[in-house]
Every structure is written in C-alpha cells, then in structure tokens.
Subunit: 688 residues, 2 copies
C-alpha cells in the first residue's frame, strides 16, 4: 500500500506541462497553442452536441467514446448518442453550424479548445467536428496513473481538398472488412477520398444484376454484392469519406472480355470452319481471367457500337450505387497492340480521322462522358486520357514518372496548364515499398513550375495508390499503413511541415494507435512469421525482419509470373515492410559513432552486430524444423559474415585486405534471396 | 554452399518414419494406420474430383490448395477448381458417391489413403470428402527442407451427429467476418452445427423488413441484413455447416419489447391521467435495450393474441432465411415475475387451467410449434421448455448444472427417457473460462444412467456455448478457441479417446493451425497488451499473462453492472485465457521436482521464480508510463513475494515460520485484482 501511494504521488507530480514537440499529432494542425493545465478524464466524461449537424456525428461521437474507453479502460457511462442536446451539462460541447456534404470543397475546418473542465469543438460542419475528435484522441496524454488532455487551442483546416487512398480490389480481392477498417484509418488520418479500383484484368468485382456474366465468368466468385457496396458507401459517408469507384477501360480488359469477348479488339485467324464466325468473318477471340501481373493486351473495341451499349448499361447499373460526383474510368496502359492488328479498327480510325491510337482512345473516352453525366457524374481517368480533344470537365489522375520514362508528375503541370483539374499519385505508389520519406517529401504543388493561382487551384490534392498484385487481405494493411499517414499529412498540413525525423517520431505512435481501429499492419507480421517458423519461437525471424525490406519498385515477381493472383503470399518478404525498424536505428548509431567515436557509441554498434550474429544462429536452429526458413539462411549468413568482420574492424583487428573487406560488405548488397534486401547495407558501407 | 548441402542431407535423412503418437490430428480419427514411405509435395501437386458430389467440393478443394500453399510456400500451379474430372491424371483423387445434405444424420464418413505417389479420398458424400481434406491438412509433415504426407490409411466417421458451437451475437454484436472465420474453424474441426443466438435482452440482430421497429429501436444499428444472413448461410453450407437460428422468447424479451411494448407482461400503475391508457385501463410499460448482464424480467405476454400474431409474422420473415430444419426459440430463464404481477395473465392461467408459470410457458411454446412447422422447421429450446405437454418433436437443449442448482445434464436423461431428442451444452459453457480438460472429459453420453439403445440414440450430441457478455469481436476467438477443438474431439472421436495430456499436445498444433483461417485467438493477445503497455515493450505483460487466467464461472463482472455491453473490454483479463501456458508448465515442473529432487529439476523451478521476479520488475518499469498496468502490480507483487521466499525454501534457507510461509502463498489465492487469478497458486502450495 505504501508502495502504491508512492507510485500514485509519482504519477500526480509527473503531469508536468507538456511541450508541443511531445505531441504526436498527425496530420499536424495548422495552428496549435498549448496552455498550462489539463483536462482530467473521469468515468463521468460526457459529450453533448448542438447546432445543425448531419446525424453522422452521433455515430462519430459514440465511436470516439469507445476508442477513448478502450485506451484508458475507464469505460465511460455514456453509451450510444442518439440526438442533439442530450446532455446539456456535459464537459465536452460540440457545435456544428450545418450538415457536411460528402465531396470536394466542403468546409472541413474546426476549432478545438481544451480547458481544465471544458472541451469545446466548433466546426462549420460535422465533417470538421469529426476531424476535431480525431485530433482530440491524438491529444490524449498520461502520467503513471491517469489520462488527461493538455489544455490547448487548435485551429485547423486542410491544405488540399482531395486526400485519397486507392485500393485495388481486382488483383487480390479485398473483403468488406478489409475495406471498412481502411476507411476507418482514412478518417483517423483526416483523409476524405477512397478510390475503389473495382475492375481489372484479374477480375470484375461488382455484382451485376443485368449483366450476370461479369460475375459468373469473370470474378471467381470474389465480388462485392450491390448491398455490400451500398453498405460500404454508407459506412464511408458516416466517416466523412467520398467513394470514387473505378471501372478500368478500354485497356486492362481481360475480365470484361472474358464475359463479353464479342466486344474485344483481338483478331483471330480462322484455321478451319469449326468456330462460330462473326459478321466480319473473323472468329471471336477467347479471353480468360488473367492470373499473372503485368500489362496485357486485351482491350475493348472502340469501333464496335456494342461496346458502348454494354458500357452504358453497366454505368446505368453501377452509378446509382455511388452517390458521389466522380467516376474513374481508368484509361491507363492501353498499348493498342490489338487495335493495330485489327483491320476493322484501323479502318474506323481512318474514317473518323483519328491519327493515333491516343486519339482513338480519346474518341472512346468521350463517348463515356455523357453516359456518366446522365447520372450526375464527372469523369476521371489516369493521365493517358489527357489528349487535345478530352472534355475539360475530366479530372486527370497524374501517375507516371521516371519508371514510365517521363518526368515525375509532368502530366500534373500539363493538365492544369491546359485547364484540367488534377490529382497527384506519382510519388505515392505505396505498393512499391519505398521508404516513407520519399512519399512524405513529395508535394502535389510542383516546385518551379511557375503556375498561376488559378492553375494551382486546379491541383486538387493527392492519392496514395495501393495496387495489389503482391498484397493479400492478410498483408494489405502493412503495405498501406503507417506510410499513408505521412501522405495524409502532406495533403492536409502546411507546406512547411516537412521535418522527416519529427514525422518519423510521431508516426510511431500514430501507427500504434491505428491498431485500435482493427488495422492488422502490426499484428499480422507475427502471424506470417509463426507460419514460416512452423510454430517455433519467432524471435530470430522477427529480429531479422527488422533489418530486411521487400524488394522495391517492380523488382519482386519479375515478369509477373512467379506468383499468381491466387498464390497466398505467406513468405518472409510479406512479413517485412519498408523503413525496417532496426535499419533506421542502426544507421543513426553509425552516424553518431562516425561523428564521435566514444566507447558508448561503439558499444551500440557492437550490440547490433552481436544481435545479427545471434539471429543467424537462431535461424539455423529454426531451419532444422522449418523449410521456409531455408531461403533466409544465405542472406543471414552474409550479414553475419559482415558483422563478424566489422567487429574486428572496430577494434582495428581486421586482417582482411581493404578489397576483401569491401567485397564482404558488398555481399550484403543483394536482391537474390527471399525477395528481400538487407536494409543495413548502406550503413555497413559507411563503416569501412 | 557446403553448409547448405549438409543441411539438405540432414533434411533428407530426417524424414524418418513417423509414429502415430507424433501426429497432431484432432478430432482423432476412428482408425489410423501408418505405413512406410511418404507422399512428397511438389509444385505440380494437383487434385481431381469424380463422382456425384455437391459443387461445394470445388470451393472446398480450392481452399484446401490455398491453405497448403500458404503453409508450404510452394504455391501450386492449380488455381480454381470448377468442375468434375478436370485433371484425370492428378496425384490426388477424390471420389464422392452423392451430394451431401446439410443437416443431421447425413453420412459424413471418409476413407483417406496416402501412398507414395497417390492420395485417394473416397467418401459417400462431399461432406465426408471435406472432412478428409481437413485430416489430410493435419497429416502434413516436414523435415528441414521439405513437406510431405506420411503414407497412411485412415477410416473415419463421427460418433455424434450434432457437433455444434453457439455464438451469442446479441450481448456483444459479432460482425460478419467474426462469424465467417468461426464457421471456417468449425469446419476445420469437423463440426457441423452453428447455433446463432440472434436475439436477447441486449439487442435484436436480424434485419426486419416488415417489423422495422425491431431494427430501428432495438438494435443500436448493430444487426445482420437479410442479405448478410443469406450470405452466411451459403458460406456455412459450402463448408458443410447447418445453421440453427435462435430467437429467445418469452423471457430475455427486453429488445423485442423495446420495439413492441404492447406485448409485454409488465403492469404499470397509473399515478395520473397523462399517460396513454390501453384497453385494460393500465398503462403500457416502457422497456429499453438492456445494457447490463444478468437475468431480467421483461417477458412477452402469453395471454395477448397480439404476441402470437407478431411472432407468427416474425417467423414468416425469418424462417425463409434459414433452409435448415431446426429453429431454436430459447425459452430459458423466464422467472415469471411480470406474469405473477399481472392480473390479466393470472386470470388467463386460471381460465386455461394452467397451474404454474411453467405450464403457462408450455402453452406459449406450443403456439409456436405450428408457426415453425408451416416453414418446415422443428422447434428446439433450452431445457426449460421440457414440461409434460411439450410436443415430442421438440429438441431439448440441456444446459443447466450445479451452478443452477441441478445435477449436471440431468435434463438430458429426463428428456431422452420421455422420448425427446436432446443436445448437451452443460459442461460446454466455454464463456465461463474453465480449463479445457473439464470440457474434454464431459461426455454427452451420461455414465450410469442405464439408458436403452433407443434412448441413447436420442442424444444427438453436444454444443459449445459462447455467451458474449464479456466477449467482443476482438476477444471472442480466444474464448472459443482452441478449447472448442477439444469439444469437437469429444463429439466426433471414439469414447475412449480421452488422454488429456495427449490432447493438450495435439491442441497446441491445432491452435496454431487455426490461425491460417484468420482466427485471431493468438494474434489479438499482443494487440490488447500493447494497448495496456501504452506501446511500450510487452514482454513482461505477455509473460505475466502466461500465469494469469480470467476469473471463472460468473465471478467476473459481478452483478452484471460493472461492465456495460458497450464497454470495449480492453483489460488485462481480456488478454488472458484459461489454461495459462506457464501455469501448466510450472505444475509439471513442480510435480517432477517433488518426485525427484535432482539439481536439474530444481533449476527448472528456480527458472520460473526468477522469471516472475523479473516480470514484476518489468511491470513496475512499464507502469511509470502506463496507467492500465497499475492494477496488475499488487498481484504481481504477491507472486514475486512468494517466489522470493520459495527460492529460500528450495535452498532450506527460509527463516519464515511455517504459518507465515503458508500465508504468503495464500496471498496468491486471490480474485481481487484486475479480474484475473494466479493460475500457479495450487502448484505453489505443493512446494510447502
């Protein structure tokens, strides 16, 4: 009891005034002022809502209470909030002037005022109030015994109006629960657009009541029912998120053409008279759901009236499921091979004076504009749709960069100069496993492009894109989070908020907190490692995963045929993530040591080497009963060999020639093992 | 390379003939014969299906391939299986004579024959073939470099036809993904009934299109849409699982009466003339969704014709959602308080010559029989429905035992003697946190009851019941699994398969393998502990959770009001489980030491004590920045104090008086901290 008292006092006295640098807010608000004093959390904590908000705020506050409950274990009395002004005397008062409209350009600003006995949230719309609640959750502090909010005044609003995440549900189907928890995470990061990539070569994912073949033949039974889609749209609406659906045409057409081969562009030579002939006298090609990754030739036939009839009917069925004002029609990566080889299409081009395949694609895309307009939707497409005759109402989605042989985000500048609105995704390809820093410093507003205010205003914002050739429902979250939180900050916060070290520090807490929303990015690492370890202790594997990163860019699954879309991806690379934890810590230690060779700094480095030598020993032991560990041993041996020699180097006891030492380290610069690379290679090199 | 070769050879030579005792099959098959030799897995592994199975086998085999893929990382070529005889030359051949019917008494037997280059599965129905595939997955073995199946002949069939799990979706709503993954686990354990408790005081969980009030007023927005229900029924059917829905009446009626108070039994005294009067001149009572746990008085009025009209309409809407032949109407825990206090109901009893409330309830229940029969459904209810006038077609669900003041499973014997079919749940209440052993040794066939063969045949089987007053979607799986796997074995395997130690050994692997189905029973422990640790290292917390168990029986949440149904339950007790891992290991070590006081045996014990002393230190450190750890410190201190003294005892250096030592150990026999108990108390006591 005496002991408890001591602790209690220690707790009370440790609620010292918190400094701004200690807050783990993300995205960082436009203005934060900290004041002396705290708001203490008690079981009687209650929230009251006034004004004219959309009813979504009731659910929003109820969820806020439960999350705060879960963190603190206080378990507040207040249960479900159902109406305005339920508890006029509540310590937390939320006032919203009007009902927030889901979409672009809505007022999402808020003022959050935390005082000793009162928290006030004022927002124009409930969307702003929802953001304020997320900020409040991030403000939570604790001493050793209790939880509190530091007194503060926060004023906040977004820099860009389009702050999105795309998830590809075509390559690897992502079930409803995966989508929902990611929508929760978007809301927590104050993002407001979920772009749902629903159709690609590898599958059609929307239940169709009129065109059932799309489901029966082109989905493998993996699709969202229309009710599930409506349910997700509602779920997103309740969290302030706009959904932008995508049906990718005219390229990426394998799944559509599996169901409707008669609108494909491929010409087949008839070798006999056994196949059914179409009116051109050529056979209708056969298509199949694509099982590999890559860019494929199946493309819709832009010269065939049936193509437009089908698409029009499809939009008539799909558009009403999505109340938002935007519809993404893809339009990317159409290489036109099948168009070039089809005499009928060539003739059509000539007849319509379309000089290039690009012009032909614009012709095609322009037919879709009225089909969407009929349902009140504006067309959006990947940057390839940007040609001279494209409607100025179309939104250009800028995605290509050096990997596609063009300047990064060049299309963004082109688009706004030509009068188009645009959204940036180049630099936000989170599926490619690049470090968070690269995404964080990638600003939608191009430097030195000399844009007018009007042109700048056409840059709506940005969108992280999560393609899923290599991501399953088990691994998706760890590919999206926490890096997307840094992108969220880029899109919300002031341009000058860009201190990478500070962002990293905050991101660690933000990532942990995302777990309370059901995100699996932390927990599923152990699941994959347990399987690899064959249910033996995963300590060594886990530590090894802390210095390994999945191959970056398009270097994993080269050629797209090593893994099929139905391969479950339960390998070591699937447990690893960018920004390997120990690699960052090691690099910091090396930098410190090189700047100042104190015994303490040396000891830290030695600690890493000894750990990796132990990891190697641990992996060898594991491998005796775990075949999946075998693939890691050569890589782990390379790191161990380098570590052992560098231990000598640190003590000036290495007997290796400089060249041999260099070669030893260079061994660690490899992409040949288990689809991962050693993220410590560059830091190791610094030591020799 | 040399190193790898050595490993490779070690691998090859280590595929020694496996022994039966090494297999981790569960439920244990009726007959297993192991033969020399193995079937080696390769990328070319393929399955072929012949005969006349239900098409569910195609999905079943496809899922089988993906699970084997995921474990082995081999990633087979074969993708989606869509029709019979696709690959006549495949190494795995499955033949089924007929399409399996979901329900009781279906032939679920199978023969599995594993030979060097050929695996053959023969089953009457695809349901048997699905079971065979689960057995085959459990047969998977590995050496250090590769995976294989040992040659074997297995013949198998279930002992009982009803092998069920009930999940209560009313107290804490359990979303679709939770239900689905638990259905997957049921199928993996060869269980065949999912009993879905959909209505209780705390909520109505079925979308109603005609009686919308049940959803609008009595669900808090947490319910299954009819499409979701149909989708789950289909999902279960594909896995061979029958769904038995439950609407609990006439007691447990708070949610129904929140929507339709006019059919409630409560009488309200009118104090003034301001309330709307009903025809009896009494006011209609108000009801609310219940937020606490317990037994409550709201009960449907059996004397009111409107009650039957509403129930009839409800069954008309709900029954068609469930194709199975059984409908559970609850019927439990009606204490009749409101009936006794209602003069109109008393009058009704008299008029209908119903001597007791039990007879009145039978009258009520008998009205439901034809409502269900109309939809081809047989009525099932908790044992309280068993009274002299109950229809012999009703299935009696035996649940009460010593806790309710009756002999365990007495109603089971009563029921079969009176000619009723029955299912046992007494002894399978997995929500009460008892050790797996107690459930495992609880046989549906009562000992010494002297039943005829005919009477025995009326014992259909058993059902694990997972009530969710204290289980959320985050924790549910860890309450259900792995213990339900042991119940599955009790219900499937031969009566004499009951070696607890052997079961425990197999259960460890089975539990690990359940993770591949998405079950969260292992992974979510770390999630809860990370939250408690406030994102600090969870090592100490995790180790402490290995000796703590949640309070058993009805001792947690005493009175039912400490936690509300909307409390998120993120406490230490929610991370702990029965059968605490280190407690079992410690008890084994103590037993060994006491039998033979070798230095080695002593060292093991000392190891535990030192670990717990370190844990205590670790928890104190954590608590400086984690308020939720505070509640654990007094308990951890008790274990540390005992450990420290017992270290002296082991060396004969204790200076404590025998009484004081006893008291010190007795300190560990406490239920006062953090809703858990120290699972090592009994073993500690053995040492003094």
């Amino acid at each position: 009891m005496k002991y408890l008292l001591v602790l209690l006092l220690a707790g009370l006295t440790s609620s010292a005034q918190i400094q701004k640098e200690q807050l783990n807010l993300m995205p960082w608000p436009q203005s934060v002022v900290l004041n002396e004093g705290n708001f203490a959390l008690t079981k009687n904590f209650k929230v009251n809502i006034t004004g004219n908000p959309n009813p979504r705020i009731f659910g929003g506050v109820t969820r806020f209470l439960r999350r705060l409950d879960g963190r603190t274990g206080i378990f507040f009395e207040q249960g479900f909030i159902q109406k305005l002004n339920e508890v006029p005397t509540a310590e937390v008062q939320i006032n919203c002037t009007k009902s927030g409209k889901i979409g672009l350009y809505e007022d999402e600003s808020y003022h959050l005022d935390i005082k000793q006995n009162r928290i006030t949230i004022n927002a124009t719309s409930d969307l702003g109030a929802l953001h304020a609640l997320e900020t409040l959750l991030q403000m939570l502090q604790n001493n050793s015994t209790s939880f509190y909010f530091p007194n503060a005044q926060i004023s906040d609003f977004p820099r860009f109006t389009w702050r999105g995440l795309m998830i590809d549900a075509a390559r690897h189907f992502q079930p409803v629960d995966v989508i929902k928890r990611n929508i929760d995470a978007l809301a927590a990061m104050k993002m407001n657009v979920f772009h749902w990539h629903l159709v690609d070569d590898q599958g059609w994912r929307i239940e169709m009541k009129k065109h059932k073949k799309l489901i029966e033949l082109a989905s493998d039974g993996e699709y969202y029912t229309q009710e599930e889609i409506k349910n997700i749209v509602k779920y997103a609406d309740e969290r302030g998120i706009l959904i932008v659906p995508e049906i990718d045409v005219p390229g990426h057409g394998s799944s559509i053409l599996t169901a409707y081969p008669e609108i494909g562009s491929k010409v087949m030579t008839i070798n006999g008279g056994t196949q059914e002939k179409n009116i051109q006298g050529t056979a209708i090609a056969t298509y199949g759901i694509e099982r590999n990754a890559g860019i494929f030739s199946p493309t819709l036939d832009p010269s065939n009236p049936k193509t437009y009839q089908l698409l029009s009917e499809i939009f008539d069925e799909v558009c009403p499921l999505f109340p938002g004002s935007y519809f993404h029609i893809g339009g990317d990566e159409n290489e036109g091979k099948d168009w070039d080889a089809n005499p009928k299409i060539q003739e059509f081009k000539k007849k319509n004076k379309l000089a290039t395949n690009h012009e032909l694609q614009t012709y095609f895309t322009m037919q879709l504009v009225p089909m969407l307009k009929k349902h009140g939707k504006q067309l959006m497409g990947w940057e390839e749709i940007l040609t001279k005759n494209m409607s100025k109402e179309a939104i250009i989605h800028s995605w290509r960069g050096p990997n596609e042989g063009v300047a990064p985000g060049q299309s963004l500048v082109d688009a706004v100069k030509k009068g188009y609105k645009t959204v940036l995704s180049n630099g936000y390809y989170i599926d490619l496993m690049y470090p968070v820093e690269s995404h964080y410093l990638n600003d939608p507003m191009p430097k030195g492009a000399d844009l007018s205010a009007e042109e700048k205003a056409r840059i709506l914002g940005g969108e992280a894109t999560m393609w899923t050739e290599l991501a399953t429902p088990t691994t998706l979250d760890s590919r999206v989070w926490p890096r997307t939180a840094a992108i969220a900050e880029r899109l919300w916060s002031a341009e000058d908020v860009k201190d990478v070290a500070n962002m990293r520090k905050r991101l660690e807490t933000v990532s942990f907190r995302l777990e309370e929303l059901g995100l699996t990015h932390i927990r599923n690492r152990a699941v994959i490692l347990r399987n690899i370890a064959n249910n033996q202790n995963i300590k060594s594997l886990n530590e090894f995963s802390n210095v390994c990163e999945p191959l970056k860019g398009y270097t994993r699954n080269k050629g797209g045929t090593e893994y099929q879309m139905y391969s479950p991806l339960t390998l070591f690379a699937d447990a690893c993530t960018p920004d390997a934890k120990d690699a960052l810590a090691f690099d910091e230690a090396v930098t410190k040591y090189l700047a100042n060779k104190t015994p303490e700094n040396k000891t830290r480095i030695i600690g890493f080497f000894n750990k990796w030598i132990a990891v190697n020993k641990g992996l060898i032991e594991l491998s005796a009963n775990a075949p999946l560990v075998q693939a890691l041993l050569p890589l782990s041996k390379k790191l161990t060999d380098a570590s052992q020699e560098l231990l000598f180097v640190l003590d000036n006891k290495s007997t290796l020639k400089s060249e041999d030492l260099k070669n030893l380290i260079e061994q660690c610069n490899t992409k040949e093992h288990a689809d991962v690379e050693l993220a410590v290679y560059n830091s190791l090199k610094k030591l020799i």
